[in-house]
């Protein structure tokens, strides 16, 4: 949800990077979104494209990398990939682990034209 607001915040951040690098055209923008975030990739791409039209970012490509969720077991300390939506350790069966990956909402890279 809230993909429009997220796209707007993202555009501001990317434009700041662009300005800091001589205002060069932006080719692509890499974002990392954790799989537990309530953000729909297609909606974000749609809004990003819509609001960058007619701006210094027009034509730039949004590349969304989904970060798979991972948790640390509270019982045995092992880190494991989260299958589904419950946090159950495949090693010892410990329940309710601590989510260590999967909540990201990051701008990670901006590719500028040379």
């Amino acid at each position: 949800m809230h993909e429009l607001g997220i796209a707007q915040a993202l555009v501001e951040q990317v434009q700041a990077v662009q300005a800091a690098h001589g205002g060069r055209p932006v080719v692509s923008v890499g974002v990392r979104i954790g799989s537990w975030r309530l953000v729909v990739k297609e909606s974000l791409e749609f809004y990003y494209e819509a609001i960058t039209r007619g701006t210094s970012l027009e034509g730039s490509r949004l590349e969304v990398e989904t970060v798979p969720a991972a948790a640390r077991c509270r019982q045995c300390g092992e880190e494991y990939a989260v299958e589904g939506l419950l946090l159950v350790c495949p090693g010892c069966g410990g329940r309710g682990g601590e989510l260590v990956r999967g909540e990201e909402l990051h701008l990670s890279t901006v590719e500028l034209a040379d």
Binding site: I6, Q13, T109
Partner: protein, 224 residues
């Protein structure tokens, strides 16, 4: 050329939340972010809780809603400082609006601020308000499958109030199934079985709130 960034896209909210956190810590005030679906009983819980807490502690409330001041009026009747935050259509509270609310509350004369979020079980989990803890309210009439359906929220909770337990006999709420799923997402948040109607469980929950208040006070003492 590729520029590596690593910036939280919702940084603006994070910064506002940290500012709220700082202001609350300075005043030694605990803030609790109350989250639930509409009608689960957030306001009713406060109506039961505030008289119990107010014998020893000074309570303030920020009420979040899309429309009306009804909830602020209910809390106002209890005689504690309260402000209605209206989101103008927003489905969740954000840190900047909460910050403006905190400016209006007499923080120096409070021990705890309850921030009653907009009734919504999905979106509020994503927006840090600067609170010490997120507290969820789930009513038995909503069904036992909600922790599995809304894992982000239930994982972030520091406490969960299971409300309307006086209605258990009239629902198909399966407590074992609920606990299995809840503990599969969250191993540590205490669960309080409450009925705002009968008053059951309110005192136990109040005792947990007091622990949070005491920790916030100690934190303020440590920085002086």
């Amino acid at each position: 050329m590729e520029v590596r960034v690593l910036q939280n896209i919702l940084e603006a909210n994070e910064q506002a939340a940290e500012e709220n956190r700082r202001r609350l810590a300075e005043a030694g005030v605990a803030a609790l972010n109350l989250i639930s679906a509409p009608g689960a009983g957030k306001t009713s819980l406060l109506e039961r809780l505030i008289p119990v807490l107010s014998t020893e502690y000074r309570v303030g409330v920020l009420e979040g809603d899309i429309a009306t001041t009804r909830d602020a009026e209910r809390i106002g009747a209890l005689g504690v400082p309260v402000l209605q935050l209206l989101t103008n259509g927003g489905c969740h509270l954000e840190a900047a609006l909460v910050g403006r609310g905190l400016e209006e509350l007499p923080l120096a004369e409070l021990d705890v601020v309850f921030i009653e979020n907009v009734g919504n079980i999905a979106c509020p989990a994503e927006f840090d308000l600067g609170e010490a803890a997120k507290v969820g309210v789930l009513s038995v009439t909503e069904g036992h499958d909600k922790p599995a359906k809304y894992p982000l929220l239930f994982h972030e909770l520091k406490a969960l109030v299971l409300n309307k337990v006086d209605l258990l006999d009239y629902t198909d709420f399966d407590k074992d199934a609920f606990l299995r799923d809840f503990r599969g997402i969250n191993a540590t948040a205490p669960l309080f079985e409450v009925s705002c109607r009968t008053g059951q469980g309110v005192e136990e929950f109040a005792r947990w709130v007091v622990q949070v208040i005491v920790r916030a006070r100690e934190g303020a003492g440590a920085t002086q």
